[in-house]
């Protein structure tokens, strides 16, 4: 097992009522597993099925394999500028 941190921002943080979630995942878990865990939380049904995700500050695909301590950011539609 390993521990990773999921970060939530803006509208996503409001949907789930928090901006960070600690998750215990089996070795070999991927970004997809994090998204499934988040979707199962109260308010998680309001996350889109395929949000943008970054692992340790870099955009990552859903199949990206995680390592212990990874920071997985679930990124709402970007609206800078």
């Amino acid at each position: 097992m390993m521990q990773v941190t999921a970060l939530l921002f803006a509208s996503y943080a409001e949907h789930l009522g928090r901006d960070a979630v600690s998750l215990e995942l089996p070795d070999g878990a991927t970004v997809d597993d994090v998204l499934r865990h988040l979707a199962a939380l109260p308010g998680g049904d309001r996350l889109p099925p395929e949000p943008l995700v970054a692992v340790n500050l870099e955009y990552a695909a859903r199949g990206h394999a995680l390592a212990p301590g990874d920071e997985v950011a679930v990124i709402p539609p970007i609206a800078g500028g």
Binding site: A10, A54, A79, G81
Partner: protein
């Protein structure tokens, strides 16, 4: 070459001065400001939030990409966070280059990529007191349909 996510009032003239040099013949400064109307709704202010460490990293990557593509541009970019009133600058990008065409192209590249890749969000406040996170992917205006990047 410098970029930052900041909370202070932006100073376009200072950023212009920062990139100016005798080897350059042209400078282009882009300033994004809070507009009083968005998608037909009267806006009173905007709150900006970022995933700051990633935003800083991504913005730095973008200005280095732009400088490399331009062959010699000096670029400084700052994006402000927090609550901004009407007409306040949310982003300033200053580019200097020996020639004008690459200066324009680099400034344009930075703002377009910033809007596509830098994790920043804004919550608009409306005259009726309500506020809402802006989702450009859901917007009705044709100019804002370009989606964010999909990582590979």
């Amino acid at each position: 070459m410098r970029s930052a996510i900041v909370t202070h009032v932006l100073d376009p003239a200072a950023l212009l001065a920062e990139v100016s040099a005798a080897r350059h013949g042209a400078a282009v400064v882009f300033v994004g400001t809070v507009r009083e109307v968005n998608d037909g709704r009267a806006v009173t202010g905007i709150e900006y939030r970022a995933y700051a460490p990633m935003a800083e990293r991504e913005l730095a990557t973008i200005i280095h990409e732009a400088a490399a593509r331009s062959g010699g541009a000096d670029i400084v970019a700052e994006h402000r966070m927090g609550r901004l009133g009407l007409e306040e600058a949310s982003v300033v990008i200053a580019v200097a280059h020996p020639h004008r065409a690459p200066a324009f192209d680099a400034a344009r590249y930075v703002i377009e990529e910033l809007k596509r890749r830098v994790p920043i969000w804004k919550r608009e406040e409306y005259v009726d007191g309500t506020r809402e996170w802006v989702d450009p992917t859901a917007a009705r205006t044709p100019e804002s349909v370009a989606g964010p990047p999909r990582a590979g």
